[in-house]
Amino acid sequence: MSGTSAIESGFAEREPHIPEPTLDRPIDYLHAQSTLRSWFLATDHKRIAILYLASITAFFIIGAVAAGIVRLALVVPDGAILTNDTYNKAFTIHGVVMVWFFLIPSIPATFGNFLIPLMIGAKDLAFPKLNLTSWYIFMAGALFTMVSVVLGGVDTGWTFYAPLSTAFSNSWVLPALIGVTIVGFSSILTGLNFVVTIHTMRTPGMTWFRLPIFVWAHYATSLIFLLATPVITTALILLILERAFHIGVFDPAYGGDPVLFQHLFWFYSHPAVYIMVLPGMGVISEIVPAFAQKKLFGYRFVAYASIGLASVTFFVWGHHMFVNGQSDLASLAFSALSFAVAVPSAVKVYNWTATIHKGRIRLDTPMLYAMGYIGLFVLGGLTGLYLATLAINQHIHATYFVVAHFHYIMVGGTVLAFLGGLHFWWPKFTGRMYNEAWGRISALFIFIGFNVTFFPQFILGYLGMPRRYGTYPPEFQLLNVLSSAGATILAAGYLFPMVYLLYSLWFGRRAPANPWDAKGLEWETASPPPPHNFLSLPEVPRVPYDYPIQERESGRQHT
């Protein structure tokens, strides 16, 4: 770097009021300060991650309760339990809260926030205050949305299609729209922070191809945050103005085109699927090698596949609109491009499978979740290709097949990865071990409950049951009852971890720095880590995932 004569000033700009830990006086980030103020004004990425974890857990509970209401109502076909309006509000709240307030921030804002600096050997994210701002923006958006729920709810579906949302719905659409718009900025700022951090804050020796896949996946996710979110911000702003002032852009009454909203919406919302999926893939790519004690198979391919998915996903949004009146040319183009998603997805799945091959497998809770993830993601992904096939789509578009498909991706994929990651890094986050037996039991409950809930929905969809139906023809009742029964098992599976994880906070065994014999810089520091992550600059291994068992690659062999 020539030409700059920047000076190093003698004192640091931000005077730390945190006592510096030393080897004989270790202070972790949780106990460095204990006032409420020190939490709500925290700039430590780890504390902000915990703030996010607490908030998204709350939103998960709200979304799950709404889902429970939906499943309860669908036990009977004639809508005797809920009125149509209440049912519509329940599934809208479920969708809005789960998509924007749980799934999108779930892994990036919690694990990503906590782990990226640790994994790359940095003291913090590049912009710690911005990171805190992101959380406050997130909460502000959540507040608006919750206001709409408390006032009486929204009944537009999470997709907010015009002109239903702008000119016809009599529910509290505006606060919900404003809330979702605001939350977008939180995503953008988080993505910005990650991109800059991963580019500039890597510790010396941490080259791109020594980064864990988790970091690659978050880099790809962040690119989507930056490139997709602004478009839906614009779309939602136009929708808000449409509803408030009837500007007409999406309103056919004035010559506007409601399909244009769908284009702008899906330009974001299809890539948003990968905002939810890619971080989960990152988590799985950490768990599988750790519990196989084996280097990740095809590391470079998996890394590139993350970037590949993030790019390809921008070319396929129109497959949500095959029967919505877009041109046949567009439908053919979007359908063909959608099949390209199969390539990077296959890379990921087969490489995880190959990693398990000839490993030294420990079937602890995180690994159980990871194996469940692989199976369910494969099914969810391939059923996505059914939907991308034009002729099949004409039949199963907007049926329960779609519902089943994206729950296999969102729950089977993202939520399982989230829970797997939560168990994997719980010792690192909290310094405590959870109860392994309960962990395995709940993983089993979730896997079984999930499949009983959602597999029947594939059949319902192919039989032709449309989604978002509060009442339905009686011939679909049996499968719906089965699905609702599965949901109770799933709910139990969700409740167990909430109990035993909380229990472990006070009564769990103290965790060592590296309870899983895992590789990666986050395991090189104490559990929980000190405020600035490392007491001394960590040494970066020459290969990522340098586990005992490794394939021969680029001429190196380890035993």
Binding site: L227, V231, V259, H263, F315, W317, G318, M321, L329, A330
Partner: protein, 103 residues
């Protein structure tokens, strides 16, 4: 604190010229291109003038990016970011037009 313009030394003048040459030149270029576009917009000399107008705009954008925002001095990564933004705009517009032009 530095002096008002009149009391500048020759050395200072030279530094000033060195530092301000590019901003002033790009300023003049932008004004010139704007004049072209305004003239085209005011007179509408031929039917498909919008294509020429958009081409002029593209040049203006390039001038701002390369000279005002100094992309040409930035590391490749920053250039890549800027390029990425415009490429993504192209995806958004192009793929949407497959619908509108195909209807």
């Amino acid at each position: 604190m530095r002096n008002p313009l009149a009391r500048l030394t020759d050395e200072d003048r030279a530094r000033l010229r060195q530092h301000l040459r590019v901003p002033v030149l790009s300023f003049l270029a932008l004004l010139g291109l704007l004049a072209v576009n305004v003239t085209l917009g005011a007179t509408l000399p031929f039917a498909q003038v919008w294509a020429l107008e958009l081409a002029v705009v593209a040049v203006m954008v390039a001038v701002i990016l390369l000279f005002s925002m100094e992309i040409r001095h930035e590391p490749p990564l920053v250039r890549l970011f800027a390029g990425l933004g415009f490429f993504w705009v192209a995806i958004l517009v192009g793929m949407t037009l497959t619908d509108y032009l195909g209807r």
